[in-house]
């Protein structure tokens, strides 16, 4: 637009008087001066506008956030301090790492890092019996140091799954088909038949790379081990 104005002003100088030409020259000089500085001024004005918009937006967002929380007043923390979540076993990450780094066969007995009350409380989960999945082709429920889970937790799992063994498989972290193939059958070991039930130390023959100290599997399932030599069992029939 300025280019067109300059063009009209320059052409008009040819048919206007000397006095008017001076005014036009003065105008052209001002336009020239303006054109030399206006890009910088425009950039500065745009930057200023952007800063003001961002400041306004930040204030608005802060107000919205405060209104959406119980703590509507700025700089006042009203929540109570709570302890960080504990691992399901209650052991610290450092202790777990220390035990896992110990070679299998040399790992410490759980009584060295769990209190008697913790051990008793854990094993009380098995007072109603224990469940294990045995290979149906053999006449024993398991080897020495074989893993078991609490009967009532298995019952709850089956109930929640509506009797669908594929869901139970998934919940226990087994491969698909592990239970549904029929090769393995769940068996109940009654508490009176327990043989040296204990919290696994990780030294057991069945302790694999996913074993964790503290009596819980990596999936959070309570576990114990016992020696199955000569231990009677009762097949569980799932409809």
């Amino acid at each position: 637009m300025l280019t067109r104005v300059v063009s009209y002003m320059t052409r008009s100088k040819g048919w206007l008087s000397w006095g008017w030409n001076r005014i036009i020259d003065d105008g052209l000089a001002r336009v020239g001066a303006f054109r030399s500085v206006y890009p910088a001024k425009l950039r500065a004005a745009a930057a200023d506008l952007q800063r003001r918009l961002l400041d306004t937006l930040a204030v608005g967002m802060t107000r919205i956030q405060r209104k959406s929380t119980k703590n509507a007043e700025p700089h006042v923390v009203r929540q109570d301090k709570v302890a960080p979540p504990r691992r399901i076993s209650g052991l610290s990450d450092e202790k777990i790492r220390e035990i896992l780094d110990t070679p299998r066969g040399q790992r410490p007995d759980p009584s060295t890092y769990m209190t008697k009350a913790e051990i008793d409380e854990h094993l009380a989960r098995f007072d109603d019996g224990a469940v294990r999945f045995r290979d149906a082709n053999y006449d024993t429920a398991g080897p020495p140091g074989g893993s078991v889970m609490p009967k009532n937790e298995f019952e709850a799992m089956v109930k929640d799954a509506g009797g669908d063994l594929s869901i139970v498989e998934d919940g226990l972290g087994f491969d698909p088909g592990h239970l549904t193939s029929g090769r393995f059958e769940p068996v109940l070991i009654e508490a009176e038949d327990f043989n040296s039930i204990r919290i696994p130390s990780g030294n057991e023959g069945g302790a694999n790379d996913r074993w964790l100290p503290g009596g819980f599997t990596s999936g959070g399932q309570a576990e114990a081990v016992m020696d199955f030599t000569g231990v009677d069992f009762t097949p569980i029939i799932l409809d």
Binding site: Y138, G146, E223, T234, P235, I237, L238
Partner: protein, 79 residues
């Protein structure tokens, strides 16, 4: 849940030794065609029978009672 008939398990844990086979309550070590296999019942929650090839010297050690099946699990990091 329904339950079947309770299974009474023999209370024996004897180890039986034959020229090419040593058998325990839940495991065996056997020579087959020049190879030696350790077959055992896994202690995992749904642990079935697993089979693993081991060294000839291990057969001799197990046969002589110098090595147990648990030693084999540790040596070969089996579970």
């Amino acid at each position: 849940m329904k339950f079947g008939k309770k299974v009474i398990v023999p209370k024996t844990s004897a180890i039986k030794r034959e020229p090419n086979r040593v058998t325990g309550p839940t495991w065996s070590v056997e020579r087959v065609d020049g190879k030696v296999f350790y077959e055992y019942m896994s202690g995992e929650l749904a642990g079935g029978i697993k089979r693993y090839e081991i060294a000839e010297e291990d057969f001799a050690a197990v046969y002589a009672g110098e090595m147990t099946d648990y030693d084999l699990l540790l040596k070969y990091n089996l579970s």
